[in-house]
Symmetry: C2
Subunit: 245 residues, 2 copies
DNA sequence: TAGTGGTCTAGACCACGTC
DNA sequence: ACGTGGTCTAGACCACTAA
């Protein structure tokens, strides 16, 4: 039994948390990719030399963080944005009347640039590092409701282009399968602003009418920031839903 | 060991979940009030005739839902809105520059009315049931940033008045200590709107400038809705912070 | 020192999915 | 029939708090 690193060190962490870090390592290195089944609990217990209950507690935490998905009788799988259900985890906009609608992503522009100080800071890049900027419109039903401007490191997403985006499924599904970058967590900041001319035209609202602005920093494993985006949400027929617990 | 109600019934629930419901019952009945210590795990295990691990799993879930708070070496306590830390769980508005500010609640008006069909529906009351409406302004630092209109059942909050609100600490702290109603969960809907005259004046912004509207239904134990409120948030120097996981 | 929650183990059995 | 995760038990020991 490995009780190493416990002794009165200030950096003590219980065994199950060390196991968790080992599993995290396999996710970060891409050894176990999104959608894959990870080894069974007893297999991992044997491999790490701990009891099954300890592995279980490690996996429990990761399942609670949406990193893994357990399925009784089948196994434990690396979370993916491709299965339905996980698809809308990051889009909190829902129609006021509750009727679910088909979503359609319309890429508008995609170009390269150099990171300004602000983008560099939020994405943890060198100022001047190459970035890719993507603009797209999101329709729910027939109505345009979100205008997004998305900033990405060109190094992480090398050949991103309008064609690539058009071909793929959901954006995060594409990032996952094409670039091996799995979006896991995000921080959002919401404000109300008056629509500028571009947004107003795209969202088919009057210039100056109130819009919801959502700034999002998205993280992959290990809290590494990999996406920054600003979205203009039209809240005429939709609202941003949030649960406080 | 009580494995009752398991047999192939469609309403099967594991033992630890039945224990959880028993503990929930003690919270709903007010037998264990906010801030109180609940009996120790071994005590409960003996009382319910199950192993300590099973009680532990029940408490684990309730701690994850912020119903209980564990403190190593001391015991497990019913969550309360009075201890700092829990105080800002339901206010997601933070200053743009990150500097924390003193908050000050200023009650404006408080009157009685009869529930309209909409309020009755969201609060699960009979249409026409007596309700109490409270308006208040929230200042962060010296700046007015939130104008709230709050709807409550007069039956649950009998003698609520401007004086009572002025005297108390935080609103949810008051509800807890004076009326024994503990706010546990909330659903929020966010929209961007143009400021009307009243809101604009109170929040010291121009009429028609964009405001964030936050509609909230707040629940006590057992998902019982007990509060409905609409808040107008000024997002000039603040933003609504949200984490997606 | 005594009591609490926190961790870890080992083993039994159940529920589910697949072959 | 077999392997997976899900539940439950019993007991040991650790870490923290308070008297």
């Amino acid at each position: 039994m490995n009780r190493a690193s416990s002794l009165h060190a200030p950096t003590f962490s219980p065994l199950y948390r060390q196991i968790k870090q080992l599993i995290m390592g396999n996710l970060e290195s891409g050894e176990w990719g999104p959608g894959d089944a990870i080894p069974s609990e007893s297999e991992l217990a044997g491999r790490f030399g701990v009891s099954q209950g300890t592995v279980r507690k490690a996996i429990d935490e990761m399942a609670a963080e949406n990193l893994l998905v357990r399925q009784q009788g089948k196994g434990t799988f690396v979370a993916t944005h491709k299965d339905p259900g996980s698809a809308f985890r990051f889009l909190r906009l829902v129609p006021n009347d509750g009727v679910p609608q088909v979503s359609q992503s319309i890429p508008l522009e995609c170009w390269r640039a150099k990171a300004g100080p602000d983008v560099a800071r939020t994405l943890a890049l060198e100022p001047g590092a190459p970035i890719t900027i993507l603009r797209r419109l999101l329709k729910l039903g027939d109505e345009p409701v979100v205008f997004d401007e998305i900033y990405l490191s060109s190094e992480l997403f090398p050949d991103l282009s309008l064609e690539v985006v058009r071909a793929g499924d959901s954006l995060y599904g594409l990032f996952e399968s094409r670039y091996g970058v799995c979006m896991v967590r995000a921080d959002e900041r919401l404000r109300a602003v008056a629509a500028d001319r571009v947004s107003a035209e795209l969202l088919q609202v009057a210039e100056g009418s109130p819009l919801l602005v959502v700034e999002r920093v998205t993280f992959t494993y290990g809290r590494k920031p990999v996406e920054w985006r600003r979205g203009f949400y039209s809240t005429r027929n939709h609202h941003y839903r949030n649960e406080l617990g």
